[in-house]
């Protein structure tokens, strides 16, 4: 049997009726057509499904949608509501932190979760905040640099090689 679900997603209220075995990830992707949030593993081990739940990053593949009834969710689509990209997104673009882009929505939201609490993280703090998000393309370095460019803190990474050719 289906149960009622009220969710505020990206500032918009939704009222749905869903089966209890459906995860938040499925409801976002299939019922609300917000396919920016991805499924990489289904078991909370890769972070591609990361969304913000009341501002905190969580793995939406592990959460029964009904358990977050009445709460607020932010997906990647919610970061640029009027087409103006969020500063994190802009930093990712300019620093080359995106390759295939599949981990990117989850990664960006994990970063948002960090910066909302700690606007000037050190490199160590950034890396720790991203331990729930696997990336196979980038080796994380440019992702970390992108966040550091917003943090105003020094990097341990060597300068980009195109200054040395």
């Amino acid at each position: 049997m289906k149960y009622p679900l009220r969710l505020k997603v990206n500032g918009q209220e939704y009222e749905l009726e869903i089966f209890p075995h459906r995860t938040l990830l499925e409801v976002l992707r299939d019922d609300l057509n917000l396919t920016g949030t991805k499924e990489g593993c289904g078991s909370g081990e890769c972070g591609a499904c990361t969304v913000l739940l009341d501002g905190e990053p969580i793995n939406s593949c592990l959460v029964l949608a009904l358990q977050v009834n009445g709460r607020t969710v932010t997906t990647i689509e919610g970061l640029a509501p009027n087409g103006e990209l969020d500063e994190v997104q802009k930093a990712f673009i300019s620093q080359g932190a995106i390759q295939c882009g599949f981990c990117t929505p989850g990664m960006v939201l994990a970063v948002k979760g960090l910066l909302n609490k700690n606007p000037h993280p050190t490199e160590r703090e950034i890396r720790e905040a991203l331990t729930g998000n696997l990336c196979r393309c980038t080796g994380y370095q440019k992702i970390v640099e992108a966040v550091l460019s917003l943090s105003g803190r020094p990097t341990s990474s060597p300068p980009n090689s195109f200054t040395e050719r």
């Binding site: 593993c41 997906t75 997104q89 673009i93 331990t131 440019k142 980009n160 195109f162």
Partner: protein, 756 residues
């Protein structure tokens, strides 16, 4: 030093906005009207006869629209390089995960439930899991091939025995490179859509769309024109995303139901039935003179193909002889075997056999340097091929930046000082590699690439190519090349997704060929479009086309630069003059590469050869066995970096994968079963596990690559495992010849060393 407008600049990816906003539609995001969800029933046995399949209950389940077995397929044996595939198992299953049946249902729950209702009566057969065991007499035969051998590779040059006799040292060792998984974040997926005429549209993550189309047409018994391949955004590949039965099973379901079918591998199944790296046993014997000049090499390679041949025989062949064009080996004796085993079929993974052999070779060279008392860096420089040389197999080295890579890497790493320090448990190691930018031997059809550049009235430039962007930045590099060639701003360029109905026939993205081949293809197309536009402009300017130039979107007279017209205006005039027809430039690039001689393997197979040198610094925790990576330098000869930012991103990613392979990644198999089919127990590096990676780009400017460029994708990974192993040797004085080098192996070896 030429002044390029766009080439050579670190511009962000042109589709970065789509990817970072979640707007990019990946394969697993695609939703079509009436779409059904597919799943595959996979064999729980490594080797078994199928006695009977009972589909009745599954078919009755409400919401199930089709259940198919091999009987619903044309039963045509096929394969990318062989004939040992069938879409679904016919009489036997040959690995745990083998495709037995497929289901299409109205939702994923129903599809999964239907799988559990299919009853298969198996008769287990004896199985064999190791390629050495599979070659033994009496081993169960997986296909009807003697000793389970898929292919053999044999090569001899010079007089190796004499060379060894005349060598000051001869170093012999055995290596094992284990089976690792590409671990792309988006699991294998597809949407296959039938249309009313019986055409099938495959929305697939394909590195080789045009080639895949051919294989799939053959498998489905359809004429080629009935198959259309469209490549949406996809989440990484690293070699794995070529032909797969996942797509074909979906196609059969699409034919059966008349509806689009989406099939996505649950991650566990992706581990079980993906295309992991070919594990290899490598026996390597190398001779050298007192001064470090290499005299010869003897190689034996045994690689496991798994239950059917994908590209493993080409990978084993590559392992056998690619490094012969990294250093000068005047004498060779090489044998390689690709062998069936009852395990998941193995295939391409960044490095393609060269990665496996590079681990062995660079480890051995380090030991030779030790035995001769030579600097390992100097040993590489002495033997490395230089610009203008032709290797023993006829590879023409148009440009080699190897020496510069080694010099700049060692300087950046403080190589001499660090090596002099000799602190126990702290070490520094170096490894080099070569690679190709394209491989004539991979695809029989031709070698080359084509492009189409369409310019519309408002100046928007649409580029068509037949290769594949899996996130590495290929589209952006193509856009930069076209923008540079045309003389217009990068923002005007859009690169269309590959659609075999429209795009040129592209061999695809493998063998690190994208930039050189695809880049040259679209460059030629852009040149053609430019020529057509300049003809129109010439009439306007009342001069000859060769007096005109285009820069930053302005066409001007070289002799009188103030005489200029906006590019868009000229285009519009031209289009209106031609009844509205857009400017369409087509072009192609065919290098004079050669198919290797079947016996001698002689032939220049690639237009350009990238080189690299990587250096790793480690500290080993001798109580826990953990290896802490302190520092990493990666110097890469890329010819010219069309986009230093994407090039650097590739270096970081390749190094990360190489480090994972060296230290933590292992597909653990027991009786053919993958025991760790998940990210919890298949351990890839996380953000705290990687050292800062310094990348150095060496640009010798290749004569053949577009604007002098060569490739970067695979060389980024090749040297890493050996760089790590060599650093560990420097730290502990212990050689590890088997990957991964785990803490347990390190502790075990330290204990043995203490006892001695």
């Amino acid at each position: 030093m030429e002044q390029w407008q766009v080439v050579g600049k670190a511009v962000p990816q042109i589709d970065a906005r789509e990817r970072v906003s979640g707007a990019a539609e990946f394969v697993s995001d695609i939703k079509l009207p009436g779409m059904l969800y597919g799943r595959i029933l996979r064999s729980p046995y490594a080797h078994a006869r199928i006695r009977h399949i009972d589909l009745a209950q599954a078919r009755k389940l409400s919401g199930v629209r089709a259940v198919v077995t091999a009987q619903d397929t044309p039963l045509i044996p096929f394969g990318p390089r062989s004939d040992d595939w069938t879409i679904l198992a016919v009489d036997k299953v040959r690995f745990i995960g083998d495709e037995v049946a497929a289901v299409a249902a109205v939702d994923e729950d129903t599809a999964e439930e239907a799988l559990s209702l299919i009853k298969v009566d198996y008769e287990p057969l004896p199985a064999v899991f190791d390629p050495l065991a599979a070659m033994e007499p009496g081993a169960p035969l997986i296909h009807q091939k003697e000793r389970n051998i898929v292919a053999e590779f044999k090569l001899s040059k010079g007089n190796l025995d004499q060379a060894f006799q005349e060598s000051a040292v001869v170093y012999e060792a055995q290596y094992y490179t284990n089976q690792v998984y590409q671990a792309y974040l988006e699991p294998m997926a597809c949407v296959v859509q039938p249309d009313i005429s019986g055409r099938l549209i495959f929305y697939i993550p394909s590195q080789i769309p045009s080639m895949t189309r051919i294989t799939y047409a053959r498998a489905l018994g359809l004429p080629l024109e009935k198959i259309r391949v469209i490549v949406p955004y996809y989440g990484g590949a690293f070699g794995a995303k070529m032909e797969t039965n996942l797509h074909l099973a979906a196609a059969v379901l699409a034919q059966k139901t008349g509806k689009p079918i989406r099939m996505v591998n649950p991650r566990e199944e992706d581990f079980m039935a993906g295309n992991p790296r070919v594990p290899m046993y490598i026996d390597l014997k190398i001779g050298a003179k007192r001064d470090g000049t290499l005299t010869g090499k003897e190689v034996k390679v045994v690689g496991a193909a798994g239950a059917r041949a994908v590209y493993s025989m080409v990978i084993v062949a590559t392992a056998c002889y690619r490094v012969d064009s990294l250093y000068r080996f005047p004498n060779l004796r090489t044998e390689g075997w690709t062998v069936y085993t009852n395990t998941v079929p193995t295939s391409c993974f960044r490095g393609f056999g060269n990665a496996q052999m590079t681990f062995a070779l660079e480890s051995s060279l380090d030991m030779i340097a030790v035995q001769l008392g030579l600097d390992p860096a100097e040993l590489r420089i002495r033997n490395g091929l230089r610009t203008g040389e032709v290797s023993i197999h006829g590879w023409k080295i148009g440009s080699s930046g190897l020496e510069e890579c080694i010099r700049r890497a060692t300087e950046a790493a403080s190589w001499k000082e660090k090596r002099a320090q000799k602190r126990f448990a702290r070490g520094i190691g170096l490894a080099c590699c070569n690679h190709v930018s394209g491989n004539r031997a991979f695809a029989r059809e031709f070698d080359g690439a084509g492009g189409i550049v369409r310019i519309g009235r408002e100046g928007k430039v649409l580029v068509y190519h037949g290769e594949s962007d899996m996130g590495q930045g290929q589209k952006t590099v193509f856009a930069q090349i076209v923008a540079e060639e045309l003389g217009v701003p990068l923002e005007w360029i859009e690169v269309a997704r590959v659609d075999t109905d429209v795009s040129p026939f592209g061999l695809g993205s493998f063998a690190t060929r994208g930039t050189v081949f695809g880049g040259n293809g679209v460059k030629a197309a852009a040149a053609d479009a430019k020529r057509q536009i300049l003809e129109v402009a010439a009439a306007l300017f009342e001069t000859d086309p060769q007096n005109l130039e285009i820069k930053e979107g302005q066409i001007f007279n070289k002799n009188n630069p103030r005489e200029s017209q906006p590019f868009t205006k000229v285009v519009e005039i031209g289009i209106f003059k031609r009844g509205g027809a857009p400017f369409v430039g087509t072009g192609f690039w065919v290098p004079d590469t050669e198919l290797p001689d079947p016996v001698t393997k002689y032939g220049n197979i690639s237009p350009a050869y990238p080189f690299a040198c990587q250096i790793c610094e480690v500290e080993v925790d001798t109580e826990t066995g953990h290896v802490h990576l302190l520092n990493y330098i990666a110097a890469h000869d890329v010819g010219r970096a069309i986009n230093p930012q994407t090039t650097e991103g590739q270096i970081h990613g390749g190094v990360a994968q190489g480090i994972g392979w060296a230290l933590t990644e292992n597909m653990v198999l027991a009786d053919g079963k993958v025991l760790n089919p998940n990210f919890r127990d298949y351990v890839i590096p996380g953000p705290l596990d990687l050292p800062p990676i310094k990348s150095i780009m060496v640009e010798p400017i290749d004569p053949h690559g577009p604007f002098g460029a060569k490739g970067i994708g695979e060389p980024a990974l090749n040297p890493a495992p050996a760089a790590v192993a060599n650093a560990i040797y420097d730290a502990l004085g212990i050689r590890f010849n088997e990957l991964p080098i785990t803490p347990e192996k390190i502790l075990e070896a330290l204990k043995k060393k203490k006892v001695k």
